[in-house]
């Protein structure tokens, strides 16, 4: 089998804009699943609302495209009713961190055996580029026309504090690392949270002076710093630039897990 076998061919072409990073994340996820040897009929994709949440519609398994922010409680119902199923949630920064924030922390607290992949483009893409809880301070969006004034969420730190067993962050540039992180997340019992920073050339890039798609991907590459290195800086009291994207595996632990087969 190849990861291409997991695509619902009759649903293509997809709705994503040219240059969108979401397709990369879907490919990485399906590559990881292909290596996991999961059966299609035992795998369920769940999502909320937004660009990222359209992903399950392009995958051949049973899939539930739900309401805005609520993918995790729907997924919790599926996993608790059928612990034998492999449940994967696709979500975005607005879906997960704004309207779905409460469900996110409680899913992490329960440490339910689900893999959560957040495509964080730092903007509401589908509705045309409004500010989200991860829009950086100063960034322009249609609802922050003078630059965002609110501090952004660090979703990985949030997931760790709330109790997730596995937490990692990569970007659409780090394809191999991301694929591996998704696989490790799927192998780790409990809630696995993988944040994938992605470019949104249409609604973020155009407003924030990224003239080309690759400019934004290059930004993700050049501003990334491995967590180990970041921690060394922190230990030595050396400041790192505000725009630094800390990448890598944040935590892998064995807190008690909900939703395992009885």
């Amino acid at each position: 089998m190849s990861y291409e076998d997991w695509f619902r061919q009759d649903r293509l072409p997809h709705i994503y804009c040219a240059g969108c990073g979401n397709g990369t994340i879907i490919n990485c996820t399906l590559e990881a699943i292909d290596e996991m040897d999961w059966k299609k009929e035992e795998t369920v994709f769940v999502s909320g609302i937004g660009c990222s949440s359209r992903a399950p519609g392009y995958i051949v398994t049973d899939s539930l495209h739900t309401t805005h922010g609520r993918a995790l409680p729907f997924a919790t119902g599926i996993k608790m009713a059928k612990p034998g199923f492999h449940v994967v949630v696709f979500t975005g920064d607005g879906d997960l961190a704004a309207i779905g924030g409460n469900h996110f922390i409680h899913a992490c607290r329960r440490n339910i055996d689900i893999t959560v992949i957040c495509m964080n483009n730092q903007i509401y893409g589908m509705t045309g580029g409004q500010g989200s809880p991860t829009t950086p301070v100063g960034a322009l969006s249609t609802t922050t026309p003078f630059g965002s004034a609110e501090p952004a969420f660090d979703l990985c730190e949030l997931a760790i504090a709330a109790g997730a067993n596995y937490v990692a962050r990569w970007t659409s540039y780090h394809v191999k690392e991301l694929t591996k992180a998704v696989k490790v997340g799927m192998e780790t019992p409990g809630l696995s949270f993988i944040e994938a920073r992605v470019q949104c050339p249409t609604n973020y890039g155009r407003k924030n002076k990224f003239k080309q798609v690759l400019d934004q991907v290059e930004y993700l590459r050049s501003h990334s710093m491995l967590r180990q290195k970041y921690l060394q800086h922190e230990e030595r009291g050396e400041p790192v630039p505000d725009a630094t994207i800390v990448i890598g595996e944040f935590i892998k632990r064995g807190r008690p897990v909900m939703g395992l087969p009885r």
């Binding site: 619902r8 009759d10 649903r11 299609k40 009929e41 035992e42 369920v44 769940v46 399950p56 519609g57 051949v60 398994t61 049973d62 899939s63 539930l64 495209h65 739900t66 309401t67 609520r70 995790l72 409680p73 729907f74 997924a75 919790t76 119902g77 599926i78 608790m80 009713a81 059928k82 199923f85 409460n102 469900h103 409680h106």
Partner: protein, 360 residues
């Protein structure tokens, strides 16, 4: 047995194996009883972080084939509205119990009301039809909960059990049958598109995990389940089918009790006010007082009005400002007398006797 416990026992008898809920007075005993009983029956009880999540969890569980339910009251019911619409659009069978209390807002947590009768019919956005059952005894808490599961699976809709605090917290002797009726969910036939309806307008159910590879979305979708949100004709067809699968069965599924059909003065009730009217009829043995007691309020059984050909007046006591009386009124030319009541007390038989012209 308490009404709320009878509801939980009815659910268990009906094969409910998933409960997702959030504590709220006056419905909490349903959740508490399920928390004790479900694990022993190899079912799942989960307390969610709010009622939005509760509703989401039972929809998720239902797609794996579970008979799933939640129980709540007014404020929680309001929070469930968006996902109730999702269950309607995706045709997900589930049961939502609402032990109604006084509103708006936090209102009267421990007092009875029937203020959510229109909310259960129209509360989520968009057009749809709904099924709502209204028990007026502890026995009916049991029986109508069983019925709610069967209707949910047959029509693939969320079914509402709209009780009130009085019925939920009342204790009565009940008869528990050895066996209850079980109408199973009709599975999707092989080779048929997942949202292709059969003659009764209900599609077969493509349960998750059976290899159907079905895509379920709250967006307007075609028979494959794929989003087609900008096709006006397809949207109209879908919404009309969702509406008509219940409306066409309106007469067949109607559930009401007729007492003294030749009476001129007729009470119409659902829920706890039925008990006061029963007392009036009992006390007025010499005079014929009619009673139409609705066990199912939605879809509204307008044909039941014809069961009282001699009716000169319909008297409708309700624990709200006339939510069902106005629906009733638009189906008859006979005068309708509303007897609204707020505050949580039940109508006294004496005040109803006065209206009916019966000696106190």
């Amino acid at each position: 047995m308490q009404g709320n416990i009878a509801c939980a026992e009815g659910a268990l008898a009906a094969g409910c194996n998933f409960f997702g809920g959030y504590p709220i007075t006056p419905s909490t005993e349903v959740a508490e009883h399920m928390a004790i009983k479900l694990p022993k029956k190899n079912g799942t009880f989960i307390q969610m972080e709010d009622e939005i999540a509760s509703m989401a969890s039972i929809i998720g569980a239902s797609w794996t084939g579970a008979r799933a339910m939640t129980a709540t009251s007014g404020p929680g019911f309001s929070l469930m509205m968006e996902n109730i619409g999702y269950a309607v659009m995706t045709e997900t069978p589930c049961v939502v119990v609402n032990i109604q209390r006084g509103g708006p807002s936090t209102g009267q947590p421990t007092m009875a009301a029937a203020g959510d009768m229109m909310q259960c019919r129209f509360g989520s956005h968009g057009d749809y039809s709904a099924i709502a059952l209204c028990p007026s005894s502890v026995q009916e808490m049991y029986e109508l909960t069983v019925k709610a599961f069967n209707l949910a699976d047959r029509f693939r809709v969320p079914v509402f059990l709209m009780a009130d605090e009085i019925i939920g917290h009342m204790r009565e002797r009940i008869i528990i049958p050895d066996k209850v009726e079980h109408i199973p969910r009709r599975p999707l036939a092989p080779g048929v598109l997942p949202f292709h309806p059969e003659d009764d307008l209900v599609p077969g159910f493509p349960e998750f995990g059976k290899g159907f590879g079905v895509h379920v979305t709250g967006l307007t979708h075609d028979e494959r389940g794929y989003p087609c949100a900008t096709n006006p004709k397809l949207h109209e067809q879908l919404v009309m089918r969702l509406y008509n699968k219940i409306e066409h069965a309106r007469k067949e599924i109607a559930d009401y009790v007729v007492t003294n059909p030749d009476a001129e003065t007729v009470f119409v009730t659902y829920g706890s006010p039925a008990r006061s009217v029963e007392q009036v009829i009992h006390d007025a043995a010499g005079e014929k007082i009619g009673h139409l007691r609705l066990k199912m309020v939605w879809p509204f059984p307008e044909h039941a009005i014809a069961e009282f050909p001699n009716a000169a007046r319909f008297i409708i006591p309700e624990l709200n400002l006339g939510q069902v009386a106005r629906e009733f009124d638009r189906h008859t030319r006979v005068p309708v007398i509303q007897v609204p009541k707020l505050g949580g007390d039940l109508h006294l038989p004496a005040e109803l006797k006065k209206l009916a012209g019966v000696a106190a």
